[in-house]
Symmetry: C2
Subunit: 407 residues, 2 copies
């Protein structure tokens, strides 16, 4: 894309992760001259875990990952950008089988240890000849940087997105690195966009899955750009075990809590980067709901606010329109009592106990809403349930991008 | 508003309804010089029924109507435009009590037979002095036309909306007339916007409620503009009984089926008018889902498509993007089998059994999508469940209207 999101962050300095080797190549899935095939290999013994879209119309790649995550080991990941290979029936499946077979033969590993993702246009089978030629090229080139890999998985994204975290496990510092893509078709109750996490930590597959699922619940599943859930959403985590600590198998192991904290932090960073690149976004919005009857009720209320076109357009227009927040609370279908509801923008309480605060100071509210980080706080006054979700504003940019993007 | 929706229809020629007298006046709820108070009286013996928003944060007017619909009789309706009197706590309630008391004293009728609605800005109590002065003016003026009443209840609407239907009951032709307002904050699973239906038919209140609820289920609850549900949504139906047929009390009575058909037709017309005035709308979209496991499942899938920003922006851009329809089916959380799914635009089947139809003719699809009435058909191939819902496209106009409208 031409211009970066005004909310873009610079790509971090990600070191090599022992046991992980990224490469990129041109498969030319579309009429473009950019790298669009990412090929990442892992050394033997790498654990894998993943979370996948809850869509009922998944891509063949998602189906493949779901089938093979259960055995818990990975040797390679292939990501194709420009073609989602979704809604392509048996021909989509054939393409996945061709790609994984070619990689398994090249590496001499089981088919089940090759993972695949595709992103782009729906409905066109991934062209097998282009994928195979792209893989041949990738097999032959030198490894690339993390930022090059992050650039190669992008579609409508406007900036490369990566994050890093560390944890001390068994006296050893282990590194977690992640890259992610996503900008539109980002929605609640999903199991996310395309994101990949790599670490040199040693972790049993089942426990890696447990930790990734826990992190996802509070990060990727708490963001929304446009309430639309992709057919291809995938996050995979790979742990090579190159660090010399004793493998983690449960939270009883020393260092497991530290690793979970680092993994959750990494997922949090990656999820926020997707919101920062939300299509047409000019403001990053945090919606924090407290006082709900349960955490899950708070999450639904927060998502109702974060997905409301009227709330999102008000923020885009610099309007601290708490009436629209009331509306979004009311429509959420969750317990709420109009006369106990309080709402704040930034640090200013604007409505309390079901009434506007009569003499609240508009100046700090206006200053807050005109910035690019907007905090909306809602207290339902009913219980201890709480949740925080993140979204962006809804602008002319979203319409321009999506009314023009060709199918 | 300045320009009418390109989908506007002319106001129909609605005759006087025996027993119903509409009047309008200036309460000046905002800084404008237009009529904004509608005062409609009904002769003694008029039955009333209503459907109200399911929001958890209802306005005082909605609360009042809910309390008093149970007694089933009405003598007056007061509609205030420019102020929703929602989220105004005890002061909102005081305003409703002042308005209804003044009308009840004027007519010499019970308080419970005065119904009220307000629409406009949330969070500002309805000013009692302005409401009372407006009522004084309304008491003194000559009756107005239906189109004048329809104009007076409008807020962001761009055209006056009314509809008419007739039925033969007991050998008598009875007339049903309706006026409605609504343009944004129009959403699924609601019990609608502000709409008022008047008939000279004689109908017991409980049976009028039964028929109105049935009609709403297939009409008002099947439209969406922006997935946002209002705090004030109200539809009230008034039956004066001035027609000389024997009162209808159940579907066993001759003419009841004919009346239900006419009432449903009237609600269908009114609901479509709201979609035609959807904020920023340039195309009217019909989403018909068949082959679902149940009618309610079909309704959820259809609403998922109709509320998808990516589907709505694609239609705005003249793009028959069936991939986005697949996405919206997939995220609906309802039973769907990717490999049995078929999708059509207009009369052209573009995808069948989970694959694009390889040689479908693009020309009729392009012609259809470039018109202002767009039909999307989805067959899930699973069962007999079906549903049809109506929506509009999502355009720059929606953003402009809602990023600029002041709270």
């Amino acid at each position: 894309m031409s211009t970066s999101s005004p909310l873009a962050l610079p790509f971090p300095n990600i070191p090599a992760i022992p046991g992980i080797t990224p490469r990129i190549a041109r498969a030319r899935y579309k009429e473009w001259d950019r790298c669009d095939l990412t090929f990442i290999t892992m050394d033997e013994g790498t654990s894998v875990a993943g979370v996948l879209t809850k869509s009922a119309c998944t891509s063949s790649e998602v189906d493949w990952c779901r089938e093979h995550l259960v055995q818990g080991k990975a040797r390679a990941l292939v990501v194709s950008a420009g073609n989602a290979n979704a809604f392509t029936g048996y021909r989509g499946r054939q393409a996945v089988e061709a790609v994984t077979a070619k990689v398994a033969a090249h590496l001499g590993c089981p088919l089940a240890q090759v993972f695949v993702s595709s992103t782009g246009v729906i409905g066109v089978p991934l062209p097998i000849d282009k994928a195979e030629a792209g893989l041949e090229a990738a097999f032959a080139v030198q490894p690339c940087s993390w930022e090059e890999a992050a650039a190669t998985i992008m579609t409508t994204d406007t900036f490369t997105k990566g994050a890093i975290a560390t944890a001390i496990v068994g006296g050893q510092t282990v590194t977690l690195a992640g890259i992610i893509k996503g900008s539109g078709m980002i929605a609640p109750d999903m199991a996310t966009m395309l994101g990949y996490i790599f670490t040199d930590a040693a972790i049993a597959p089942a426990f890696l899955q447990e930790m990734l699922s826990a992190a996802t619940q509070k990060t990727f599943n708490c963001i929304t750009v446009d309430s639309d859930t992709s057919t291809s959403d995938t996050v995979l985590a790979f742990a090579t075990g190159k660090a010399s600590h004793a493998p983690l198998t449960s939270f009883d192991d020393a260092g497991a809590d530290a690793f979970q904290a680092a993994l959750s932090d990494l997922c949090w960073q990656l999820a926020h980067l997707v919101v920062r690149d939300g299509e047409g976004a000019t403001k990053f919005i945090t919606v924090a709901v407290t006082g709900a009857t349960s955490d899950s009720s708070a999450h639904k209320v927060a998502m109702s606010i974060a997905n409301s076109p009227l709330v999102k357009t008000a923020i885009a227009g610099g309007d601290a329109n708490w009436g629209r927040v009331v509306m979004a609370v009311g429509k959420a279908g969750e317990p709420a009592d109009r006369d106990r509801l309080s709402i704040s923008f930034g640090a200013t309480l604007v409505a309390k106990d079901g009434l506007v605060v009569p003499d609240y100071d508009e100046a700090p509210v206006t200053a807050h809403i005109n910035g690019d980080m907007v905090d909306i706080g809602v207290d339902l006054g009913l219980g201890d349930g709480q949740a925080t979700v993140w979204t962006c504003d809804l602008t002319h940019g979203y319409i321009s991008i999506n009314a023009d993007y060709r199918s």
